[in-house]
């Protein structure tokens, strides 16, 4: 597995994640726990505690960080595509907030249904890529299930490299094609 984060971007990302107090799906229980109040004397905040949205334009968007770039994820159900690193089926940290928004919506709207469409880039053999892309949709499915979404609201289909989003053959095209699309088949937000 090659290194994909440049140091500057890693720093920015860490700041974003801290600001959003996001945690990975695997230890999600901590996210629901309110921070313990400290017993020092209350301090009046100097500034209102608005989340610091990073100026993503300052983070160079490269093929290597594309999958985890904050500009791809707005934290709402408006975002319908989750990107993946090369040869990886790990849900990117930058997508957690977006996926939580989908999970919340699905839990609050039991009539809503999503189809998770897994895709791979064109490198490698076609049927093996179908299998790889299934692992990606299954990773997103698992994330949503851990958030409490019912399995009856999720449907998974794997296309491998058969339906590229970008038709070119550059590293950036491949980054755009390694993805899971979240398509509402009922109860679209």
């Amino acid at each position: 597995m090659r290194s994909f984060l440049n140091p500057l971007f890693a720093l920015m990302l860490a700041a974003v994640l801290a600001a959003c107090s996001s945690t990975p799906a695997e230890d999600d229980s901590s996210a629901t726990t309110a921070p313990e109040p400290t017993d020092t004397s209350p301090v009046t905040p100097v500034e209102p505690a608005t989340p610091v949205k990073p100026d993503t334009s300052s983070i160079p968007l490269t093929a290597d960080n594309f999958y985890n770039h904050p500009s791809n994820y707005d934290g709402t159900t408006d975002t319908r595509v989750i990107y993946f690193a090369f040869d990886s089926n790990t849900v990117p940290a930058a997508a957690f907030e977006t996926l939580r928004a989908h999970a919340t919506y699905l839990k609050n709207n039991s009539n809503a249904k999503v189809r998770l469409e897994g895709h791979a880039d064109e490198r490698g053999t076609r049927e093996y890529n179908v299998a790889l892309s299934e692992r990606r949709s299954q990773a997103v499915e698992k994330f949503l299930r851990v958030q409490g979404v019912s399995s009856s609201q999720i449907d998974v289909v794997s296309y491998g490299e058969e339906k590229p989003a970008a038709s070119g053959h550059s590293e950036m095209d491949w980054a755009k094609n390694r993805r899971v699309e979240i398509n509402y088949t009922a109860g679209t937000p």
Binding site: R123, G124, T125, E127, Y128, V130, A131, V157, S158
Partner: protein, 433 residues
């Protein structure tokens, strides 16, 4: 010989039935990019009486022999004489040009609308006639006769049956066709006479032939974007959906006896190899592993198959014994080996191998244990071996477009089949028809 001609005639009738459905699709063009340096010099003399005929038989024969990479045909303008039969044959005229063999013949239009095609094959150094045949096809079957002649000449001179009368099945993708971008087609092995089997808005994948060449199986996502496996009879265009489980339905491959399909299903949550009995519809699970298991291919003995598995990390080729379900790793070079095919004699495995980020076709000799990369392109996939074991056709990219190429098992002959429009992918070479 009589038997052979009879078989050919049956094949022609089947082809005729299928051709009516074929629109004037783009044919594949063929270019030999690399032939053997020791290719055999041969003169295919333009057949007398070819003018005005719908097909020039001698030209097709010459192109077939050239495309095999094993022969180097003499340009017609260099010929000193142009015999059309044995009595006109002057061996000296070809010996001075370094020719080893000469094909001479004639075409004659018959009252019936058909043609009489005669030819003979001569050995220049021994000054003897090696072959002589005649055919009486209708005009519509002149191409079939030409390929049958090529097959006979090839077998006479190499000892290996020719595969010029075979067909190639493949998927095309045309981004500009908003209605049906995906098509399943087949064509003659020389790229001519394209027939469309299926058009779809959704992907079509992994086409493969039945052992008798009368049916094909493929994966189609036409049902609400979900994958199903179909068995499709070419002559009648009747088809049957044989697999549409939850999850992946992929990578079908026919058993040598034509009774079963090996396939990949993820209905239990993970891609595994299964065997489907096409008569009883009984399903047998063959692999049990949390890794990816896919791309099964039967070995000629019908008792074992090879498949791609990630059980050791990256994809590698494994062999599975169907009786006891034991699995043994076969590929060991490099970190990515996938989608194997096997030669009809079971000696060579052909699969996709990644080296320095480039995907190539590699050939593994199962007897000697050697492994050779035989292509120089870099996005190769879906290798498929000709029924005579001579060539491998595969999909690759040229200028960002999917194209088909063919290479000999020893890597010495390379042939390009550029498409006029859209992408061509996933070639499957037919059995002998």
């Amino acid at each position: 010989m009589k038997l052979m001609k009879h078989r050919s005639t049956q094949a022609f009738m089947v082809i005729l039935v299928m051709l009516w459905a074929s629109a004037a699709s783009a044919e594949l063009l063929i270019r030999v990019t690399e032939g053997r340096v020791d290719a055999v010099p041969i003169a295919v003399v333009p057949f007398a009486g070819a003018q005005g005929a719908p097909e020039d038989v001698s030209q097709i024969v010459q192109a077939d022999l050239h495309r095999s990479g094993q022969f180097k045909p003499l340009p017609a303008e260099d010929m000193l004489s142009r015999p059309s039969n044995e009595s006109e044959m002057i061996y000296r005229d070809f010996r001075v040009l370094g020719m080893e063999y000469v094909v001479a013949g004639s075409m004659k239009a018959l009252e019936s609308g058909g043609y009489e095609v005669k030819y003979a094959l001569f050995d220049v150094s021994r000054q003897v006639k090696l072959l002589e045949e005649s055919y009486r096809p209708p005009a519509s079957q002149l191409r079939d006769v030409a390929h049958a002649i090529s097959d006979r000449i090839y077998e006479q001179l190499t000892g290996i049956p020719g595969a010029f009368s075979t067909k190639i099945l493949y998927v095309t993708y045309n981004r500009n066709d908003g209605k049906n971008p995906y098509q399943l087609q087949y064509a003659d092995a020389d790229g001519h006479r394209v027939t469309t089997i299926l058009r779809s808005k959704e992907p079509i994948m992994s086409p493969t032939w039945s052992p008798d060449g009368r049916k094909v199986a493929y994966v189609s996502f036409e049902n609400q974007g979900l994958p199903s496996i179909y068995v499709h009879e070419l002559a009648t265009t009747q088809r049957e959906k044989v697999s549409s489980f939850k999850g992946i339905n992929g990578a079908p491959d026919w058993s040598p006896d034509g009774q079963k399909l090996a396939l990949t299903l993820s209905r239990d949550g993970n891609p595994e190899i299964y065997m489907l009995d096409l008569n009883t519809k009984a399903l047998t699970r063959l692999t049990q592993h949390y890794g990816i298991d896919t791309e099964p291919r039967w070995l000629p003995d019908g008792k074992s198959l090879v498949f791609t598995s990630s059980r050791s990390g990256g994809p590698q080729i494994y062999k599975l014994n169907i009786n006891d379900k034991s699995v043994r790793r076969v590929s060991f070079q490099g970190a990515y080996n996938a989608r194997s095919d096997v030669t009809p004699d079971g000696r060579y495995l052909v699969y996709v191998h990644r080296r320095n980020g480039s995907f190539n076709v590699g050939v593994q000799d199962l007897q000697r244990g050697t492994f050779n990369i035989v292509t120089r392109t870099d996005m190769d996939e879906s290798p498929s071996v000709a029924p005579n074991g001579s060539m491998v056709i595969y999909g690759t990219q040229d200028g960002g477009t999917g194209v088909l190429q063919a290479v000999s098992i020893d890597g010495r002959v390379k042939v390009e089949l550029p498409s006029k429009e859209g992408e061509v992918r996933e070639p499957a070479w037919s059995p002998f028809l």
